[in-house]
């Protein structure tokens, strides 16, 4: 892999903007953006590059020519899944199990829904499957749970199925997922061979469950193959078209694709399904990168936007994967960075329940349209943003850097009528109540996420993102007992920055069963197989064997348990002694997670899954610290306004307002203060302070 001199370009297509980050070997960083163009996403990408070239004061062709690594995260896959605009897919599975993706393990009725939605049991329905039942065909074959062939594959059934799906139904893509192919892929390999025979020109896009996940669980594996096929041609067309444009534009270096697992891969090695959730992945990488720079082993990333609050974790320097991530209501088997979400954002609605007088905040949202009352666009329901405005935290004339002006009077009237009066509170108390409640709910979600990992919130720092995250960060952090919050002026381009900083990562997860007392040979052979396969891929990515770092994990459990605990291995291979130590590590971790005495050695233990990440490290930017200049930041004060703080005491305080762009590294701003950034506002409570660190990040201590 190229590690030479030249630019590293990271480009991220988001919902509204396409952001570019360009880094030079010397550690300089430039950013640029252009509007996202959903009708043809590649146009927005080229526009953003043109803009970046302008910022760098070079020709676009020169920029591309000198790009040693060109990394791209796009929303194309996620977008096609959300809008259900993939291609026509057929599905081939084991005969007798054609209804698997309709049955959805029954849990498909509630997968991806919130608790509130699930409780309305008579109303909840399943999503429409991506492949209608008419295009699901069964073939005779059967492999058992040990991977032994019980019934050989019927070649005739396969050829019939292909003919029906391709010739009669006109499918552009086919997904294949057979029972127990995780244990033995032979029959899927046979189908692949027959497919080449039947479709020599390779006009159909094929996906195989066993290639995408060697994990037991036919429902999620089938979904994975189907989604891969559903998105495949769309993603291929997009990336192919873009690559041509880039190469015609001068790009000679490798074109790498951002994946949901937090790594990049060459187009040839990046499956379409791995493109999903690459935007959030970019954010997580950036956070992990910054965490490394700042020496934070444990980080909570808290992103509060208009409608949702998304929480991710970095523990011991790494992000975490969800076991069976649910994307757009479909359960899958893919290493996707685990990010949990609740309906709590600036647009979240607050209202008083008619019967009980409870002040309910969320999960309903006013969205962007009509939006909060203060948008003056027809919204009549009080939202979190309206409360923030009433409290003086945000400035009606400098919301989103002044891009939107807000009607404060209208917000005050709505809070008074709809919340204050029914509860017998003052308007301001009512708004402060909304602020407190939403903060408390967010802290509950964070706590839930954290304790699940066996950690406590106190061991973490918070990185606050989104337009509303910094506005509320002091509130929810205090609830958690966390006293350090980081806010990054560069966070609007964090996803692109993460894409630029991403390493090449390929992940393999495999179901297995090694019962203790186990012999080291079994797991070692399995590791050999996985690593050989990964090495081959990494060679294709341009890495030499000694440039690839392997991270290995065993999932351990007591026998009979369904869930397991993932243990990072400190060794490359197992020995008898290490297996003994592994058992101890498991029981220690288990008690950390579930309490002392929760373990049950007598039940026996087993290794139930193996995961290996192959990481090819690429050149990272070395951010340059700025010279530190002591000072109280008073040069940045642009005015004063009355701001309501809920701690340490409740009440309005005349508070200086700082223009963040005028603060210098080393400045220390003491609360009460309000810092205004072009995309957000940070209220600093009395007694707290904000320090500008050498990288111009804002560190709030409360």
């Amino acid at each position: 892999m190229a590690q030479a001199n030249g630019y590293i370009v990271g480009i991220d297509t988001g919902g509204t903007f396409t952001d570019v980050v360009v880094m030079s070997p010397g550690g300089e960083v430039w950013t640029a953006k252009a509007s996202t163009t959903p009708d043809e996403f590649s146009r927005g990408v080229m526009d953003a590059l043109t803009e970046a070239a302008r910022v760098l004061d070079v020709d676009r062709a020169d920029l591309l020519k000198q790009a040693v690594l060109f990394k791209h995260g796009s929303t194309v896959a996620t977008n096609a899944l959300i809008t259900r605009t993939g291609v026509k897919v057929g599905f081939i599975t084991t005969r007798g199990f054609e209804d698997t993706t309709e049955i959805m393990r029954a849990i498909g009725r509630v997968d991806g829904l919130s608790e509130e939605e699930i409780r309305h049991a008579t109303w909840v329905t399943k999503p429409e499957p991506l492949v209608p039942r008419e295009r699901v065909l069964g073939v005779r074959e059967r492999i058992d749970y040990r991977g032994e062939v019980v019934v050989p594959l019927s070649r005739e059934d396969v050829m019939d199925a292909i003919r029906k799906l391709v010739d009669e139904e006109g499918c552009e893509a086919i997904a294949v997922s057979l029972l127990h192919a995780w244990a033995n892929a032979k029959h899927e390999d046979d189908v692949r061979a027959l497919a080449r025979e039947a479709d020599p020109s390779n006009k159909v896009f094929w996906s195989f469950g066993s290639e995408l996940a060697q994990v037991a669980g036919e429902y999620a594996r089938a979904n994975t193959a189907i989604i891969n096929s559903f998105l495949g041609p769309t993603v291929d067309r997009y990336l192919g078209g873009l690559q041509t444009k880039l190469e015609e534009g001068g790009l000679e270096g490798p074109f790498l694709i951002m994946q949901g697992n937090g790594g990049v891969a060459h187009r040839a090695h990046a499956t379409p399904v791995s493109n999903l959730q690459s935007g959030p992945a970019g954010g997580a990488i950036a956070s992990a990168y910054v965490a490394g720079l700042l020496g934070h082993p444990n980080v909570i990333t808290a992103d509060m936007g208009g409608t949702s609050f998304d929480v991710g974790l970095i523990t011991e320097g790494y992000w975490r994967y969800a076991a069976e991530p649910i994307v757009e209501r479909f359960r899958m088997l893919q290493p996707i960075i685990d990010i949990q979400s609740i309906g709590a954002g600036g647009g979240t609605i607050a209202r008083v329940d008619g019967e009980t007088g409870r002040l309910l905040v969320g999960p309903q949202s006013a969205g962007a349209s009509p939006g909060p009352v203060c948008y003056d666009a027809g919204g009549e329901e009080v939202t979190v943003t309206d409360a923030d405005l009433v409290l003086g935290i945000i400035d009606p004339d400098y919301f989103l850097g002044g891009r939107k002006s807000l009607n404060k009077e209208k917000a005050e009237k709505a809070v008074e009528e709809k919340i204050a009066k029914p509860l017998g509170l003052s308007t301001v108390e009512a708004a402060a109540g909304v602020y407190d409640i939403v903060n408390s709910k967010m802290s509950d979600l964070i706590r839930q996420q954290v304790v699940r990992t066996g950690h406590l919130p106190e061991e973490f720092v918070i990185y606050a993102f989104g337009g509303a995250g910094p506005v509320h960060s002091a509130g929810f952090s205090a609830e958690l007992g966390i006293n350090k919050i980081y806010i990054f002026p560069t966070s609007p381009v964090f996803s692109a920055f993460g894409v630029a900083a991403a390493d090449v990562i390929h992940t393999r997860v495999m179901t297995c069963q090694y019962i203790f007392p186990a012999q080291p040979d079994g797991p070692n052979e399995r590791l050999d197989t996985i690593e050989n396969e990964l090495n081959e891929i990494m060679t294709g990515e341009g890495f030499k064997a000694d440039q690839v770092e392997f991270r290995r994990f065993f999932t351990m459990r007591y026998r009979r348990q369904t869930a397991g605990v993932e243990i990072p291995l400190p060794w490359d291979r197992m020995t008898d002694e290490r297996l003994r130590e592994l058992q101890e590590m498991f029981e220690t971790k288990y008690e950390e997670l579930y309490g002392v005495g929760a373990g049950y050695t007598k039940a026996g233990m087993e290794i139930s899954a193996i995961r290996v990440d192959a990481v090819g490290l690429v050149t990272k930017p070395e951010l340059k610290p700025q010279p530190v200049e002591k000072g109280d930041g008073s040069q940045a004060v642009k005015g004063k306004r009355n701001v309501y703080f809920t701690r340490p005491e409740r009440g309005f305080i005349e508070t200086p307002v700082y223009d963040n762009t005028l603060l210098k590294a080393g400045n220390e701003v003491a609360g009460p203060a309000v810092l205004e950034l072009p995309f957000t506002t940070i209220p600093v409570p009395p007694g707290a302070k904000v320090t500008v660190d050498p990288y111009l990040n804002l560190v709030m201590e409360i």
Binding site: G96, F97, D99, E102, I103, R105, A106, I107, R109, V110, R119, H120, A121, T122, W123, V124, T125, K126, R133, E134, R140, D144, Y145, V150, V151, S154, L179, H180, W182, A216, E218, D353, G354, E355, T356, G357, R358, L359, L425, A432, G433, D436, I437, S440, K441, D444, Q448, Y558, R559, R560, Q561, T562, A563, Y594, G595, G597, A598, Y600, K602, A603
Partner: protein, 741 residues
């Protein structure tokens, strides 16, 4: 009474925090458990109670547990307050279904929470654990046969884990590791809940927490009463059936569940008078189990938007006659109580759905999710024996959680939607099942013709064909074929259940694989007609049957009930279901009146229209009003009535000169006064199940019920399909809806 005053903002923060803590406890439980039914099926619960044992809040999980645990705590306070007393750090194991829970398999661990030396609250976690020792499922005659039955035993004492108690309890079970892991899981869940609860007390102060708890109970009651006030007053009646083994005749015997629901103002009463006497099998429900199931039915159907505390049941009165299958007398066995409970939920929801329809709450109306003909008969799903690894087990296979959901007024029911009692229920992946159980599946699919027919059909249940593979010791519970639907209801002319759902077992043997390799494949028809071996119908209907390796089984799970007249169904949907293998052309014609083209690719529109006309004509010609006349009023005045309240897709109450009458919404046909049963004037046809069902019972016994189909004399739209079981007696013409006008 004035509600308890609490700071509304702190209250809301407290409310969400308490719920989050309960969720954390439940997730801990699900991750630690050994039961797939808990981990993947969600049969568990974490919840909080005040010092008296009144439930303050339950998280999601199995609703039955939420409703049950209060009583366990109340009894423990009564029995054990003095001796052995409650101390900080204690945890009690509990599983006595005569006090709380449904059967001995409902296990709870209960923990008093102390703050500064004072007991301030209780927390409890519960799981459904399939092994309690005792006789294997199906064989119990008395509660004493159903394994350990503990009304409170300290498993943790002042923070010390009691190894002696633990070993004694798990030592009485077949599978001590499995039961032990579940007990440890519950203890872990309680530890999490109690720890975090104390954090809450630290933050808000004990006085606030106490007041907020009281307020939560009051709020639930307030919301429940407000909801009741928004519904019309009246009386609704439902009648559903179950079957079990009659030990003397060794044949199936039916029981009925009979429910009279009266709603007045903000009060709701359920009177179960008319329900059959208890049995000498385990097919009984204790009062606590019955109360828990009624609570969960209301939680789902009526009070879904009311916070889950005991307050919501305050406006509800229960009258459950003693000595019946819904209130059995000690020491009757009650292992099958959840099955009785499922039918009870259906019986309750039938009344509630009709009441909700009359209130115009269309989004909340649902036909049943239980109910299948003869679904109870044949081999069941409680396995015993040894696993392939030689572990002795008593286990349940919970594919039954893949039931079809009821249809709704504007859509079909959700196919294999789960289990209404457990909001987040799921079934396991077959690959995971085969790794644990000695089975090889040949099919898991949607059951053709398997749900209640209607304009909107019920959600399809699932069926599976599987083969005993790799075990020399496996047995399963066995029940006689019942011959009548096990609960279930349709609405507004839809049918309660579908057809062709008989569980079978065939001695296919190991040679089955050779045949499959050569191209044959087992299916339901082949299993019934002997293609795959002899149908095993064991002599004398034993409570359990051995499953030798090579046994082939077919097994069905309930589908939902239908909504509306099947003749009104969009023919395109009939065609679609046929194309997907979910409907046979025979049912398409007989029930839906839809004729498909010869090649099955399109609807024959002309033939369909004439067939539907013919069926309507038959209804008119062959149907007879039970009273001998089609109206008690002057039909000529129908047009002079003004609509007052629509209580049915096709029927409304209308008024003329202060007189209220029932009128057809479609054609205006006038039936009778609102204080009379319209069915007396509707066209009734009686359909004997023996003429209706496709397949005879494997036992050779007859079906024992009939469908009573009522249609409008004016436009022949089908109004109601009642299942009636003549041997059980009672008025065949059920007066199901009486709205107070």
């Amino acid at each position: 009474m004035e509600p308890t005053a609490v700071d509304p903002i702190k209250y809301e923060m407290y409310f969400h925090r308490l719920w989050a803590i309960g969720e954390e406890g439940r997730m801990t439980l699900q991750r630690v458990t050994a039961s797939p039914i808990v981990a993947q099926g969600g049969e568990c619960m974490s919840s909080f109670y005040d010092t008296e044992g009144v439930m303050v809040l339950a998280c999601s999980g199995h609703l039955r547990f939420a409703a049950a645990t209060s009583q366990a705590i109340k009894n423990m306070i009564e029995y054990f307050k003095e001796s052995p007393g409650f101390y900080d750090g204690d945890q009690f194991f509990f599983n006595d279904p005569y006090v709380a829970g449904s059967h001995t398999y409902d296990m709870m661990v209960i923990k008093p929470i102390f703050y500064e030396g004072e007991l301030i609250a209780w927390t409890a976690t519960s799981t459904h654990t399939a092994d309690t020792g005792g006789v294997l499922r199906g064989g119990a005659l008395e509660i004493f046969h159903e394994g350990i039955c503990i009304s409170g035993l300290k498993i943790v004492e002042k923070g010390e884990f009691r190894e002696d108690v633990f070993r004694t309890l798990v030592g009485m079970c077949r599978d001590p590791q499995y039961v032990g892991l579940d007990m440890k899981a519950m203890i872990a869940g309680n530890n999490v809940c109690a720890d975090r609860y104390l954090g809450l007390v630290e933050k808000f102060g004990p006085e606030f927490v106490e007041a907020a708890g009281r307020r939560m109970i009051e709020d639930s009651e307030g919301k429940a009463r407000a909801k009741l006030r928004s519904l019309p007053d009246g009386t609704w009646v439902s009648r559903e059936y179950v079957t079990t083994l009659d030990r003397k005749s060794r044949k199936a015997v039916a029981q009925q569940l009979y429910c009279t629901m009266t709603k007045k103002g903000d009060e709701l009463e359920f009177d179960l008078e008319g329900t059959s006497p208890q049995t000498d099998t385990d097919h009984n429900s204790t009062f606590p189990s019955t109360a828990a199931h009624i609570t969960l039915a209301l939680t789902n159907a009526l009070f879904w938007d009311v916070p889950w505390s005991d307050g919501k049941m305050k406006p509800v009165t229960l009258k459950i006659p003693e000595g019946t299958i819904l209130n059995c007398t000690f020491p009757a066995a009650c292992g099958a109580a959840p099955r009785v409970g499922n039918v009870l939920v259906s019986t309750i929801c039938e009344c509630v759905s009709k009441m909700l329809y009359a209130a115009g709450r269309v989004d909340d109306v649902n036909a049943s999710t239980t109910g299948n003909l003869a679904y109870a008969g044949g081999p069941g799903y409680f396995y015993g024996g040894h696993t392939r690894d030689g572990i002795r087990v008593a286990q349940g296979l919970y594919d039954i959680h893949g039931a079809g959901m009821g249809s709704a007024p504007l859509r079909d029911g959700v196919n294999t939607g789960g289990h209404m009692n457990i909001p987040s229920a799921g079934i396991s992946d077959i690959e995971r099942i085969e790794m644990q159980y000695p089975f090889l599946y040949f099919t898991r699919g949607h059951n053709p013709d398997g749900s209640g027919f209607g304009q909107y059909r019920g959600g399809l249940g699932s069926y599976r064909i599987y083969w005993i593979y790799g075990s020399q010791d496996c047995s399963v519970d066995y029940k006689p074929y019942g011959g009548v639907a096990q609960g279930g209801y349709g609405l507004c002319g839809g049918y309660p259940t579908g057809k062709s759902v008989l569980r079978y077992m065939v001695d296919a043997g190991m040679e089955l694989l050779d045949r499959v390799k050569l191209g044959e494949y087992p299916d339901g028809t082949g299993m019934r007609d002997g293609t795959w071996g002899r149908v095993v119908h064991p002599d004398g209907v034993p409570e359990r049957v051995a499953l030798p390796e090579g046994s082939l089984l077919i097994d069905y799970v309930a589908g939902g009930g239908g909504f509306g007249d099947p003749l009104e169904r969009d023919p395109a949907l009939v065609l679609r279901d046929f194309g997907r293998g979910w409907l046979t052309p025979k049912i398409g014609e007989e029930v839906y009146g839809v004729v498909l083209a010869q090649d099955g690719s399109s609807v024959d529109e002309a033939a369909t229209q004439s067939l539907r006309e013919r069926v309507r004509a038959e209804r008119k010609q062959l149907g007879e009003p039970p009273s001998g006349k089609t109206s008690a009023l002057d039909p000529a005045q129908a047009g002079e009535y003004e609509s007052v309240l629509r209580f049915h897709a096709s029927l409304e109450i209308a008024r003329r000169n202060g007189q209220h009458a029932i009128r057809c919404v479609q054609c205006g046909h006038l039936y009778c006064g609102a204080e009379e049963n319209y069915k007396n004037y509707a066209l009734r046809r009686i359909l004997d199940l023996n003429d209706y069902m496709e397949d005879a019972l494997p036992s050779g016994e007859p079906y024992i019920g009939e469908y009573h189909e009522y249609s409008c004399p004016g436009c022949q739209v089908q109004l109601q399909v009642d299942l009636f079981c003549p041997p059980m007696g009672g008025d065949p013409i059920l007066w199901d809806t009486r709205i107070d006008v």
